[in-house]
Amino acid sequence: MIEEQLREALRELADEVPASRVPPLSLPSRRTAGSRARTGAGRPHLPSSRWLAPLAAAASVLVIATGVAAVAGLIRHAGIAPTAPTLAPGAVPPYYIALTTGGPPSPDHRYDAGIYATTTGTLLARVNAPGRTRTFVGVSAAANNLTFAVAAENYPSRGLPAVTFYLVRFDPASRSAQLSALSRLRVPAGASFAGFALSPNGYRLAVAFEPHRGARGPTAVLRTLDISTGALRTWAGSRGTVAAAAGSPSLGWSGDNATLAFNWYGSRRGHPGTFAGTTGVRLLDTRRPGGNLVAGSRLAVRLYHVKNPLGLVPGDSMLTPDGKTIVAAVRSAGGLTGGFAEFSTATGRMVRKLGWGPTTTSAQAGMMVVLWSSRSGRTLVVSSPPGHPGQFAIISARRTRLLPSPAQARLPAAAW
């Protein structure tokens, strides 16, 4: 029954691409193999999504040019400081890291990383993926705004490749970044990488993945690395998964560098039709003993509860540094409006909505992400706020202000 439903749904979905939709193949010349050679006539559709973001970003620069001055009040001066910046409360950090390409869209989907100035979108330092066959797949940031972490994997790869991690130290004075491998912690090949997060102090890295397993064994693993000592610690869950979607920032540290928030989807034994009551954003105190991911954590916000009073559908979520609030990208059940909402970790209830507006495309809804939060969640950096797909923005005091986006950082994989 379920198989037939799935077949039908997939067939109908596939039929949305008509046969006439197949564009002509434009192979690279032997001399220029590796560069993109497909800009000729005969491509009968709208600009590729891979070009939309830079186009949108380029267009947005015009809009943003006058907005930067207003934004600057929120952002600490992005000048070249030799030491870690001291941020005023609510101030957006001056730098961020994002996945980027070195030039035209890369035919083989390899990504490097870049460190950018928040106020201008200027590339300050490039961080190249180590090795010719490696690509970065994710970024995270410490609170000092000079230390970042990146995840890397081999590309192309058959099956799910191992994911390894690196620390990135940015020196604003020289505009250079130093990459160092965190070889003690990796996601093994065959496991499904769920997410990672660098702690605010930059000394701990948390990684979540679904292990490659047989019929038995844990369904979710969360592992932390103490970068200064090399000590590893592992928690495992057996009936559920952490953030059941790739690319979701499923992990987040609070400002105490000890409490981890993660999205948990629990399954009920013998009740395949329902989520377990354990499902929601859970808080794990990593200072406490034990290795059970669920038993060792507490449910803070039940984002997926049936009695959600506003009928909101939550997406990515982030724990604010003070540990009191979960900020999530949300949209209405009909998908026509959306924005961001804050939930109390003490009561689990929604506190307020931010940046609310019409979301006209599914792609926009999918890219709506909270990228940074001030200590209490009063100021957010987000991607693709309603009405502005593909752009970064600051949301503060119920106002949404766009940030200039670098032309090469086409996808909103960024961390402040």
């Binding site: 198989e3 891979r50 035919p107 049936v306």
Partner: protein, 190 residues
């Protein structure tokens, strides 16, 4: 098609001594493969990504990758499998980076389809939304099996896992999918 490519490959010059005709031969082989399989692969990528333009890009890039690496293929007869793996890799990477795999993203059926069958469109939306909430390996196994109708052994080869793992993953994925659908139909917020 695979047999044609294999036969073509046997006539190719050795890789280490490229002759003037090499580019023409491999271009013809890759182009032929594209003409035969591009549509199904774009549809596959569209299912995985939910983006037509993104799907076209990924498939096009996969064929460009095949073209560039043609001389290095250990088995040109499995060129289709190579491209399919590249497409899945591309989708996986794009999803990780672009967050198009947002847990809660609303699937918007094409307007024509929705007008033609509103009820089935809603049901389809539920199935697709549930599918996109599955872990990526489960999602890939289901799509390869129930869209492309690939046997477990081919799925295992494409994903680089064991056939037994394909079977266990498929069973877990179907159970999870059913659970999600039941929950959605019971009126809970998905």
């Amino acid at each position: 098609m695979d047999q044609v490519l294999a036969a073509t490959a046997t006539r190719m010059p050795v890789p280490d001594s490229p002759l003037p005709g090499l580019g023409t031969v491999k271009e013809a082989a890759v182009t032929a493969l594209y003409h035969e399989h591009a549509l199904s692969l774009i549809r596959l990528a569209h299912i995985m990504l939910g983006s037509r333009a993104g799907a076209e890009d990924i498939v096009h890039d996969a064929f460009c990758g095949l073209y560039r690496r043609w001389e290095h293929l250990t088995d040109p007869g499995n060129a289709l499998g190579y491209v399919r793996s590249s497409v899945l890799n591309g989708c996986r990477t794009a999803l990780r980076r672009s967050r198009l795999a947002d847990l809660t993203r609303s699937y918007q059926p094409a307007a024509a389809s929705a007008e033609a069958a509103a009820l089935s469109g809603e049901e389809r939306r539920e199935v697709v939304r549930a599918l996109r909430r599955l872990p990526e390996r489960q999602r890939e196994v289901l799509v390869l099996r129930y869209y492309l109708d690939l046997p477990d052994e081919q799925i295992a080869a494409d994903l680089g896992i064991r056939p037994s793992t394909v079977r266990s993953t498929r069973h877990r994925a179907l159970a999870a999918l059913e659970r999600l659908l039941n929950q959605a139909r019971a009126g809970e917020t998905p």
